[in-house]
Symmetry: C2
Amino acid sequence: MSARHTPVRLADVQDEDCPTREVLDRVGDKWSVLVIVLLGERTHRFSELHRAIDGISQRMLTLTVRALERDGLVSRTVHASVPPRVDYRLTDLGRSLLAPLEALNAWAVEHRGDIQAARDEHDRRSG
Amino acid sequence: MSARHTPVRLADVQDEDCPTREVLDRVGDKWSVLVIVLLGERTHRFSELHRAIDGISQRMLTLTVRALERDGLVSRTVHASVPPRVDYRLTDLGRSLLAPLEALNAWAVEHRGDIQAARDEHDRRSG
DNA sequence: CCGTATCCCAGCTGATACTG
DNA sequence: CAGTATCAGCTGGGATACGG
């Protein structure tokens, strides 16, 4: 992965179908990453996701998993039982997204102090 | 970078000060990544960014660079000249973010076809 | 249990006009 | 040139109620 260097090109980001824009539109929302990370650990049923993600509404969880399913990142399995049971898990495609997300996470962990310091300093000067 | 593995932990994502959430809140908006990538190539003045980023309003460009500056990712240099000139460039912190963004970009480039295919297939079934 | 349907509001964003 | 100020529209997302 580190052998070839794939720089972000100017032409890419200006284009409206810029790949980075696409992925950010997909996971840059409020809940998608949380769902992906949870499903990266193991399969979850709907109610498990609902309980695990603090503050999400049933509506938004539905919309989020539906969008992820539409994009082929998550698969949905309905078990014909009483009471009904629906399992969600990552597809191979979804699992492949975990690596770049972890890279972002690693950056955040490493630099969150720097950001906080810069912000504190900025706010101190600006009042 | 690939030596140590930094998995995204469940405890992280549920916490409201989850590092990944933080960074997504920062660059997950409509314009921040575009500005960062452009400044990753070279210093830009305000009007250059404005022209380079198709569709951004003056107001949103101002808000975006201000937020990035506040977080220490971008530095702003005012030249006392007539007409006035303001240069924006990445800080070291901002430059360090380019790598994970490129990882995300690489993923997007590699898998955009898969996503499109999944979406087409899904829409075909759903009508 | 797993959703869908409806209503509604906050805030993000663009458009426009104005200023140092 | 590089912003700031103000207004208005749209959309994301929560609350609630209902259905399979």
